[in-house]
Symmetry: C2
Subunit: 363 residues, 2 copies
């Protein structure tokens, strides 16, 4: 990496993970956090050494501000002032609001040394104990230069992302915010809205839950405090999408209030068909175009070693598993392992597994 | 099973799967479908033999109507008339509308021999070629007797479900319809609404897609024709839930239109917190109460045998995997396998895998 001395300001999940990754790549990493406890934990897990202004002669070439979104403008401004030669990046998940508040907050700051970035990685858990250096491996990391970012600052930001194994996407802050409103903030809102309807559901209804409900509501377990900052920080882009959503909900309500009216059935079919068209555009694994895989299903007992044994035999058959899903359901101790494989390999795999004695269904 | 001769009317995915399962359990199964081709395919895959009124002396003890929801009332009525001693069940995913239309359609029918049922199992694929006898293994199957269902008819319906390995849930038709509106129809609508917003999204935005978006939109790939019948057939229950959803969307829009207003941040936090509370009520694997598992993450190369090798070593460590997720992302040929295990086993597993040489992260 072009920058070998890095100060991380904010040692939560993201900051500590960046520290771990950079240390593994050979950088010198210093840590700083308003909470001495958080900084000490990050140091203990090997994310770097605590920054002590009195003890260090060397100055960081790069400062990574990994604070909660609402604290970012103040921290970036302070870091630009404190380290007059350093490039300063932040990793907040909203970019334009941060930039605008930074400009308001500190009209005299040298913003040529600032580049906003957004690593698209996270976990359900937070704090330095959840950190891992591999958090960014193969994930998108958006680099959002603004109109006065210096090109060497942009290069340093890109180097940071690449050093941590991420794939770099460069776009302007407003384009970024519109993109995440759609592919991140809208799904979060939808998951929370559906999950909140379950609060007073009868237990008998919830006992019928299947993978559909589980998939749709999984991210509803996210941190309210973080999402307040994200959604209010990206309110204009999010609300624009919610206008469209509200219109679709209104139309569906009117249709279902009179499901026998002329055109009602076509209206419902259109909603589902539009969903078909939209989901077909979501890229698959490794950013490849969505692809149809064949699914080979294996019935296994719910005990140690069964899935391993299946996958062992899959490997012996020389077939690569593109995706793997376990089917969960109520009341039984039997599981179904769905192996997605290239269509041309499915028949061979099903036969190989059946020959060995597995209960296999190909479809 | 108490009923050993079964006629299946409608040999699509569900009908053919029921046939396969019953044949495996030793029942005599006859097949009938308005499409001779569908019936022949079902016969070819071993789901039963085509019903020929001229050739058979024996009469079915049980008739399973596995037609599309809107065709069910007419078919049930016809089967009750044609087979004067048979119990007739249907497997449509809505129950009260079917019952009401059945009563309207045929005031003279002997409904004591009719029991509505709903196996909560399905696939993204449809038709007899996608059928599998294990489709219902460990899945909920709701039995919905109405006020005049005879108890021996109810017993026959329950026997059918248990023979196919399902877990039986008994409830009245209206309770069932309210339950599926919430845990099945609402998630389908939410997934379709989110996915339909993606239709005109810039490709650059979609390239940032992560597991959150993929999870929320997965079921948006469902069949429009089927869902028209389900949603219009359960319109009153669904629309009631959509009123609540609309209110939440309205409130969120008002909040995000003025995110700096007093109370705005608390409003947003409340939506996310309510989602937290709702998702915590969704049962986990095997209908057990939701449980917190520890997650052990292993970094693997994306080539045949890697996941098998990991799971092999997990099995050797004597640890049971409660859930397994592969993390997908753009641009890299490295994968992360997230193993959910009982919290008390995580440390042991992480150490065992690390000792063998795996790149492991525990959190």
């Amino acid at each position: 990496m072009s920058v070998s001395t890095v100060l991380i300001r904010g040692t939560g999940l993201l900051g500590a993970s960046i520290g771990l990754g950079l240390r593994a790549a050979g950088s010198e990493v210093w840590l700083s956090d308003p909470s001495p406890t958080a900084a000490r934990i990050a140091e203990d897990i090997g994310a770097g050494t605590i920054w002590d202004p009195a003890a260090h002669q060397a100055q960081p070439g790069l400062v990574v501000v990994a604070a909660p979104p609402e604290a970012v403008p103040g921290e970036v401004s302070a870091m630009l002032a404190q380290f007059a030669d350093a490039v300063v990046v932040d990793v907040a998940s909203i970019k334009n609001a941060v930039l605008e508040r930074l400009k308001e907050h500190d009209a005299g700051a040298d913003l040529s040394r600032y580049v906003g970035t957004h690593p698209m990685a996270g976990r359900e858990r937070s704090g330095p104990v959840a950190a891992r250096g591999e958090l960014f491996t193969s994930m998108p990391w958006v680099i959002c230069p603004h109109e006065s970012s210096a090109e060497d600052a942009v290069t340093a930001a890109m180097d940071l992302a690449r050093t941590l194994g991420a794939s770099v996407h460069r776009m302007d802050p407003v384009t970024h915010d519109n993109a995440v409103a759609l592919i991140s903030h809208l799904p979060q809102i939808a998951a929370s809205l559906v999950a909140s309807r379950l609060q007073d559901a009868p237990a008998g209804a919830l006992a019928l839950s299947g993978n559909g409900l589980r998939d749709v509501t999984r991210i509803a377990a996210s941190d309210p405090n973080l999402w307040v900052q994200i959604l209010s920080g990206n309110a204009p882009a999010v609300v624009e999408i919610l206008y469209g959503l509200r219109e679709d909900v209104e139309r569906l309500i009117r249709t279902l209030e009179a499901p026998a009216a002329p055109g009602a059935q076509a209206d419902i079919a259109q909603l589902i068909a539009e969903g078909n068209a939209g989901v077909a555009r979501v890229p698959g694994k490794h950013g490849s175009p969505p692809q149809s895989f064949a699914v080979v299903t294996v019935i296994v007992d719910d005990k140690p070693g069964q899935i391993a044994a299946v996958l062992n035999d899959v490997a012996r058959a020389g077939v690569n598993v593109e995706d793997l899903r376990m089917e969960h359901s109520a009341g039984h101790q039997v599981g179904m392992v769905e192996l997605s494989v290239l269509p041309g390999r499915a028949q061979h795999l099903a036969e190989a597994l059946t020959d060995i004695g597995w209960k296999v269904v190909l479809s």
